[in-house]
């Protein structure tokens, strides 16, 4: 089956400002795809182009095989969208909001009642159906908005910063919900700037200053983006150990981290073997030696840094020539 979202060289320019710069990627059906990046990087602009709110300046994109230039209507019928504002009508009752969106999406008449009950249950608002929406706590509003966006059982669900301004407990609950929705086969396209949320995604794209810097599963990003594996060594004399290990073949870098030693090796297995042998030979006692996982945050920070550095160099080269 073809991918749910296919984007090629998508670009959007506002005046002099390039909000999205030749972004290309695709989202597989049924996966949770995360669009990660700082505020203003171009996440929302991309999502808005895919939803038909905004016209691209150039480039191609298809959602569920429908062209975003010519088949916007077909796209809209088959997607759900929820933004950070949880665009509900605050002065309507919970059930009135649900009925309104159900009517707008023209949910089949015989299915309507069942879908409304489902949305109420999912949002945990079954006994608050008559409450005025504006009076609900943020977490509830968020789930009600999600329920409204899913009434028509869309194939792709777009979530634009769905958890901003929501407390940590509600955020966790929300991600559990997203997991359930994806398990039922709905493709989820979500933007966020929370690193911990990125871990919930099947695949991630990092967007920074309008450009897509990297894309992959969280594991691929953590290991693939680093030049080697990080090995943490607990040793009796870390300073001397670092000096010893640094000159060994296959070790890229070694540094003392608190009481421990962090060694970046080209090959994980061979690196560990070599380090153990060298340290044993020097009569340094090793209590533990194990590879450690770099956090996504570390990966992204380092990627963003190298991106900035490349930009600066580029600017300097341009100025020098």
């Amino acid at each position: 089956m073809e991918d749910a979202v296919v984007v090629k060289d998508l670009t959007r320019v506002f005046g002099d400002f390039v909000a999205v710069d030749r972004v290309s990627f695709s989202v597989k059906r049924g996966e949770i795809f995360g669009f990660l990046g700082p505020n203003g990087a171009g996440k929302s602009t991309t999502i808005r182009m895919l939803n038909g709110i905004l016209m691209p300046t150039s480039g191609q994109a298809h959602v569920l095989g429908f062209d975003i230039y010519t088949q916007v209507d077909r796209i809209k019928e088959n997607i759900g969208y929820m933004s950070q504002k949880f665009s509900l009508y605050d002065d309507l009752k919970v059930i009135e909001n649900i009925e309104f969106y159900g009517g707008i999406y023209q949910v089949a008449k015989q299915k309507r009642q069942q879908r409304y009950e489902w949305a109420l249950r999912m949002a945990g608002l079954t006994d608050k159906r008559e409450a005025i929406t504006g009076a609900l706590a943020v977490g509830w509003k968020q789930r009600l908005a999600l329920g409204c966006a899913l009434l028509h059982e869309p194939q792709v669900l777009f979530l634009d910063e769905p958890t901003s301004g929501v407390d940590p407990k509600s955020r966790r609950d929300f991600w559990d919900l997203i997991g359930e929705i994806a398990d039922r086969g709905t493709t989820v396209f979500v933007t966020t700037h929370y690193m911990d949320e990125a871990e919930h995604c099947d695949r991630l794209g990092l967007i920074y200053r309008a450009r897509l810097i990297t894309i992959g599963t969280p594991e691929e990003l953590k290991y693939g983006s680093m030049p080697g594996t990080v090995v943490e060594v607990e040793a009796s004399d870390p300073v001397r150990a670092a000096d010893l290990v640094r000159n060994v073949n296959g070790v890229l870098e070694a540094a003392v981290f608190g009481a421990n030693l962090h060694v970046v090796v080209r090959d994980k297995k061979e690196g560990i073997r070599t380090i153990s042998r060298v340290l044993a030979g020097a009569a340094i006692e090793v209590t533990s030696i194990r590879p450690i996982e770099p956090s996504l945050e570390d990966v992204f920070v380092s990627l963003i840094r190298s991106e900035d550095l490349a930009d600066e160099n580029g600017a300097r080269d341009a100025a020098g020539s």
Binding site: S87, Y89, D91, I104, Y105, Q106
Partner: protein, 382 residues
């Protein structure tokens, strides 16, 4: 298509009638306007206070003064002893007019020579001054005629001795006003309030309701749904048409039953013409929503449209008195047609036979404005 329109309509009605301020916007303005135009804002000139200086002090001069005091228009506020006193009173605005009867008034009349009376009117309010002068002229003419008739009769009976007097009178202009016999300004204004309020509701409430959705972010949510622009527009405008009708009924009921404004024409025609007027008015509201980012902006833009439109509509100032260039501009003002239709229906009982030009004007203007606004609105959605 209808399903979505009904959904938007229903939602809008719930929102309007659940919001205390919006509810007030539906019922309060018509009542306030009716009170203002029914009671306070009257251009009728009554209770003109006079300063009187009668140097003649004869039965004839007293008789003359009585003519002023008899009617409901004048009342003598001050009796003066010298003309200089009048200056002060006029400056202070304590009196509106000053009548000065010089010594020898009686003698002059009895002799048959013309007798002079000086009348000074405060011209600060030009409208009031000219009306006052009109009243004065009417009273003086009536008085002269009386004297003349008396004289002629006496002469005739003296000559012929017969019982049938020969009447030779001057040509007399008989004034009669049609359609608003008492020249009550409320009869003139209250039908116009219908147009005034329909404009406010259709332009301000509509544009604010649309802009509010954009401000809150629900518009974006709607754009992502498969709703078509035309469904959204119709669903969004219809509630304000309904409210417009509620207000037309309210104004007509209070205007005729409480203020006694005549409604000579047909009520169905009144409601029919409301629809024609709502077309351009809602179009302007929709257009303003496309140029305003916030509700405040929408409100300001509404007034930028509303005041010129009202002033050029003939609601207060007659279009016939405007310079020709301005008169042409008024053809672009939907209120102009509606005011004419309303006064025609209320005061003259006119039918389509006489009003079709105004209906046509509204229809053409409405189609153009709505067409343009819908185009802009749909484009903004994309």
């Amino acid at each position: 298509m209808w399903e979505r329109i009904v959904q938007i309509f229903k939602k809008e009605m719930i929102q309007i009638f659940r919001d205390k301020r919006m509810r007030a916007m539906v019922f309060l303005p018509p009542i306030v306007q009716l009170i203002v135009f029914g009671y306070a804002a009257t251009t009728d000139v009554k209770h003109i206070s006079l300063a009187l200086l009668d140097e003649d002090r004869t039965t004839v001069s007293r008789d003359f003064v009585e003519k002023f005091e008899a009617g409901r228009y004048f009342s003598v506020a001050r009796y003066l002893s010298s003309p200089a006193q009048a200056d002060v009173l006029m400056d202070k605005g304590e009196v509106d007019a000053f009548i000065y009867i010089k010594k020898g008034f009686e003698q002059a009349i009895k002799k048959g020579d013309g007798a002079d009376v000086l009348i000074v009117v405060d011209g600060t309010n030009s409208n009031m001054a000219s009306v006052t002068l009109g009243y004065v002229n009417r009273i003086v003419n009536a008085y002269s005629e009386e004297i003349l008739t008396e004289k002629v009769m006496r002469l005739a009976s003296l000559r012929s001795g017969s019982s049938v007097p020969v009447l030779i009178g001057p040509t007399v202009l008989v004034e009669r006003t049609w359609f608003n016999e008492d020249l009550e300004s409320r009869n003139y204004f209250i039908p116009g309030i219908v147009a005034l309020l329909l404009t406010l509701i259709a332009v301000m409430m509509t544009s604010m309701a649309i802009v509010k959705e954009r401000e809150v972010g629900t518009m974006e949510q709607l754009i992502v749904t498969p709703i078509r622009p035309i469904e959204l527009i119709v669903g969004k405008l219809l509630p304000f048409a309904v409210i417009g009708y509620i207000d037309v009924a309210l104004i007509t009921a209070i205007g005729t039953l409480w203020f006694g404004v005549p409604l000579k024409g047909s009520i169905p025609l009144l409601f029919f013409s409301t629809a024609f007027f709502l077309l351009p008015a809602l179009g302007v509201g929709l257009f303003i929503s496309t140029i305003s980012a916030t509700q405040q902006e929408a409100m300001l833009s509404t007034f930028l449209f509303f005041f010129p439109a009202m002033l050029m509509s003939g609601f207060v100032f007659p279009i016939d008195s405007m310079p020709p260039a301005m008169q042409i501009v008024t053809y672009a003002d939907p209120m102009r047609y509606m005011i004419h239709i309303l006064r025609g229906i209320f005061l003259k009982g006119l039918g389509v036979r006489y009003l079709w030009v105004d209906f046509l004007g509204l229809f053409v203007l409405g189609t153009v404005v709505v067409g343009f606004a819908v185009m802009r609105f749909s484009k903004r959605l994309k």
